[in-house]
């Protein structure tokens, strides 16, 4: 049977349950999501965008879902201990797809007017605010990750920063997968930055118990005029997790957005970023790292839509693939008619450490304006033999030389991360990863 049909029926049978556990604003878009799923189904391998990742197969198992919003207790303090304590952030937690109130969250101090917390609560208490943004970017005119998520999402995280407000201290949202049964998780994130506001948000995706998970994360980001956002998404889960994330970004004029995706440890991952410049003079820095081995798989697909003139986008994704890992990168930059003075650079570099590792890369550039500066490029190769021998001649053993070259390769992307303590943390985590000291997720005691 068409796997989408299962989910349509599941929803129809449990609609009341889903809606009771959520909020009116989130319920009001479920009909549209249902229509989308009925019409387009789920993404499958026959679509060019999903050529290397058969997402529809991930939906085939009979996943459990926590539609009744049963309390799935996670002892947050016990479960999570950050490996690099210098990263001083304001902490928030999502247990599976439910916002978990915690002592740390209530102690966080935020400027007046800022909301950081449960999306469901916000939708109940400030429906007029959430309604303006929720579901406005997620695309319902295509096979439906956004549709499934919108259909079942009951809670998630909202960050709302009013005009002119600057949050200096980074916010960190830790998402913990924890369950006694195999579980499908529908997580929703909404980030709204008002005019001239600033924020930094770090998403850390962890898995506690070694169950099978299907994680669907849909995030919508509104960057208002002149705003600045740093958004980091770090996946540190394990082999039994399948993750699909879709990130929609809309940038108003003169906004500055940085997005960095790091897949440090995972099972099968598909990340999609769809970013639109809708106001002139904006900048986007979009970067990614994937360090994968065994049978891990990472597929990053990015789409940057230059709708207006005078915007700059910079993309750099570096992968290191070991064993029989497989990776895919597809990056599309569209420069529309009239989007003059666009500057766009897209690079994807990959190192396959074994003959069994596979990388598929597809940079694409589509330009309908004549006064632009755009370039793209991709490489797939091995570590530099000449550099390796040079280092060995100086007495650096082969294994150490490999390590240093891989670190340097990934370091190119880490160098683009603006948040300095995160850079240090990433350098250390990446080194541990390459040394095989990071077998599962670093922060979780349950994995040790």
């Amino acid at each position: 049977m068409n796997p989408a049909q299962n989910y349509i029926e599941l929803f129809q049978d449990n609609r009341a349950l889903v809606e009771r556990g959520s909020a009116g604003v989130m319920n009001s878009v479920r009909d549209a999501a249902l229509k989308c799923l009925e019409r387009y189904g789920l993404p499958h391998k026959g679509l060019e965008e999903y050529l290397h990742t058969d997402v529809s197969a991930w939906f085939e198992p009979d996943w459990g879902m926590n539609l009744a919003r049963l309390d799935m207790p996670v002892d947050l303090a016990q479960a999570f201990k950050c490996s690099v304590p210098n990263l001083s952030t304001q902490l928030y937690f999502l247990a599976n797809d439910t916002f978990a109130s915690s002592d740390t969250a209530s102690r966080n101090s935020l400027p007046d007017g800022v909301f950081a917390g449960s999306l469901r609560e916000a939708a109940i208490n400030h429906p007029e605010l959430v309604e303006k943004f929720y579901g406005r970017l997620a695309d319902m005119e295509k096979p439906g990750i956004a549709a499934v998520n919108t259909l079942f999402a009951q809670d998630g995280f909202l960050l709302y920063v009013p005009d002119g407000v600057v949050i200096e201290k980074p916010l960190q949202l830790i998402t913990l997968l924890s369950s006694k049964v195999d579980l499908m998780v529908n997580r929703r994130i909404l980030v709204v930055l008002g005019r001239e506001s600033q924020a930094k948000l770090l998403l850390c995706d962890h898995a506690l118990a070694a169950n099978q998970y299907l994680t669907i994360q849909v995030a919508e980001v509104f960057a208002g005029e002149g705003s600045m956002l740093e958004l980091y998404d770090l996946e540190e889960t394990h082999y039994a997790n399948r993750r699909i994330s879709e990130l929609y970004v809309n940038q108003e004029a003169d906004s500055n957005v940085e997005i960095d995706y790091v897949t440090l440890h995972n099972g099968q991952t598909r990340n999609t970023v769809l970013s639109t410049f809708s106001g002139r003079g904006s900048r986007l820095s979009l970067n990614g790292i994937a360090t994968i081995d065994k049978k891990q798989h990472v597929d990053n697909m990015t789409f940057v839509d230059h709708r207006v003139s005078d915007c700059t986008s910079n993309e750099l994704f570096n992968y290191v693939l070991d064993d029989s890992a497989s990776g895919a990168f597809a990056g599309k930059v569209l420069v529309r008619h009239g989007a003059q003075h666009t500057e766009s650079q897209q690079t994807n570099r990959n190192i396959c450490l074994t003959r069994e590792a596979r990388m598929f890369t597809q940079p694409q550039l589509e330009i309908y304006a004549d006064d632009v500066k755009c370039s793209h490029g991709a490489t797939v190769g091995q570590l530099d033999d000449k550099a390796m021998f040079y280092m060995r001649q100086r007495g650096i053993p082969e294994s150490e030389a490999r390590m240093m070259l891989m670190q340097a390769f990934v370091g190119e992307v880490i160098g683009r991360v603006s948040l300095e303590p995160l850079r240090d943390r990433l350098n250390r985590l990446i080194e541990k990863r390459f040394r095989g000291e990071l077998t599962q997720c670093e922060g979780c005691r349950a994995c040790r």
Partner: protein, 254 residues
């Protein structure tokens, strides 16, 4: 004896290039190896430092009494063998400081010594940089990245000074150097000379030998050493070219 090469045969991709090299280098000596293009000079230095692409098919090499050919490249380095590369390699993303610290401490680990204290390491860097007039700013840069030709060669001698090898092979160190850079490089090499250390200078031209005085000069041709003499041979080669040595050799083979 520092280095003893006996009947060394070696090649690359199944093609034999060295066809029976015999060479003895004693502690404190400077040997020059000269020869026309394609005679096997670079093959010889690469084989000695253990480049994995080159295969030894016959012969023996001992370095300070140990069987050199049995050791991986890094151990040859730890034992005191250094090669200044004809084309120093750029390593983006690896800083000079990190590179040198790793190299020094790996050698110390091999010798059973603890890692060098950070202050001692910085002092050592300063001292050795001065030797080849290499500016401090290069230490934060990636290895050889953005270095000019002359800076790369000075960086080679700087690394040599840091690692204090007993035998240094200078592979065409003079290529691409202007006269000032050549002088700085040669001066660095000379100041590192001692009765316990030896140098093999591989060069096409006499030029570098004006600054680094060899004790012995060899001519390499078609994978063999066809003539060995004192420093005067280098001057004669500069004046008359290689043809007469080759002819002399071919006549003797008849």
């Amino acid at each position: 004896m520092m280095l003893n090469i006996e009947n060394l045969h070696a090649g690359i991709d199944g093609k034999e290039i060295l066809k029976g090299i015999n060479l003895q280098v004693n502690a404190g000596e400077v040997h020059a190896i000269m020869g026309p293009n394609g005679s096997g000079k670079s093959t010889m230095s690469n084989v000695l430092v253990g480049h994995p692409s080159y295969k030894v098919t016959e012969g023996r090499v001992t370095f300070k009494g140990k069987n050199l050919l049995d050791m991986p490249a890094e151990d040859r380095s730890h034992e005191g063998l250094f090669m200044s590369f004809q084309y120093p390699v750029e390593i983006p993303g690896v800083s000079m400081t990190n590179f040198m610290r790793t190299a020094i401490n790996e050698k110390r680990k091999y010798l059973g010594l603890p890692a060098m204290a950070p202050t001692d390491f910085l002092k050592l860097i300063k001292e050795k940089r001065d030797l080849v007039k290499l500016d401090a700013k290069f230490m934060n840069r990636s290895v050889n990245e953005g270095f000019s030709g002359g800076e790369k060669k000075r960086n080679e001698i700087f690394q040599m000074a840091m690692l204090e090898p007993s035998l240094s092979i200078l592979d065409e160190t003079d290529s691409g150097l202007d006269i000032d850079a050549l002088r700085i490089v040669a001066d660095g090499v000379n100041r590192l000379k001692s009765p316990e250390t030896s140098v093999i200078v591989i060069t096409h031209y006499q030029r570098l030998l004006d600054y680094i005085q060899p004790d012995v000069v060899h001519v390499l041709y078609q994978g063999r050493i066809i003539k060995t003499a004192g420093p005067e041979l280098a001057l004669e080669l500069e004046e008359r070219g290689y043809d007469w040595v080759i002819k002399e050799f071919e006549d003797s083979q008849r």
